[in-house]
Symmetry: C2
Subunit: 125 residues, 2 copies
DNA sequence: TAAATATATGAGCATATGTTCAAATGAACG
DNA sequence: CGTTCATTTGAACATATGCTCATATATTTA
């Protein structure tokens, strides 16, 4: 924990902005300087932050399924489902294989679901 | 794992939709019938799915801070930061206390950060 | 080759979201 | 009491997002 003793003001050139605890800002800024991957984290969570995609992942966690089955299961248009599956595939969260006319989707990585499960547990308390 | 033996078609009243693997859909549907909390999970992730909010949480994970310090740290308008802190507070992810003119924000629950850290680890591989 | 079926894709549209700007609170201090 | 400073808040605006609709692609089958 950082203590907040020193009080000082600093003017910034862009827009006049004030800093109260210079030392704290300095410390935190250094601690955060490493992880520029936070943007990627946000992007990953952005994928999870949609009801449709969450339900798709949840369903595929149970079993590999084709597009029309997923559409029926979620009570959605085949087109809408296909669009979202595309998003999930681009993010490498799901993979697919073709068998004749039918395309089967499945999770490309079981590990990703752990994040989901943990969040689920968090909600449940 | 569910096997995909039976092939059959079903018409649905709303829009004409086709189901190929009735048994799989049935099984998965039952498995998913319990967790209606998936919507809440999506909502939680929606909060994480933004660069600004992620960085705010990341910063507060290091130390309690006031609004103007956070604004300086993230190089953002104090107003924009305040708006997002409000969102995080409504979601009970952060809390605040007033000390004179200055309002200090901090994480209301360290546990929530575990989800973030896990996702961070996932990215790192 | 033509028809049928499963899926993919692009454009359009309506809504959601995040930021800015201006103005309102709220507290300390002369 | 009026001024200053930190923060909050509401409206406006621009962009992002997810769905629909029509159409394209791909594969099987008659």
């Amino acid at each position: 924990m950082v203590q907040t003793k020193k009080i000082s003001d600093v003017d910034v050139e862009t827009c006049e902005q004030t800093v109260i605890h210079t030392d704290v800002v300095q410390t935190v800024s250094e601690a955060m300087s490493n992880d520029e991957d936070m943007d990627n984290v946000a992007d990953l969570f952005k994928l999870f932050g949609d009801r449709t995609r969450i339900r798709l992942l949840r369903a595929l966690y149970q079993s590999e399924m084709c597009v029309c089955d997923l559409a029926y299961l979620l009570d959605m248009t085949q087109s809408a489902v296909s669009h979202q599956l595309r998003v999930l595939k681009q993010a490498k969260l799901v993979k697919n294989r073709r068998e004749g006319k039918v395309v089967y989707y499945s999770l490309s990585d079981q590990h990703v679901m752990q994040i989901l499960v943990q969040a689920y547990d968090h909600i449940k308390e």
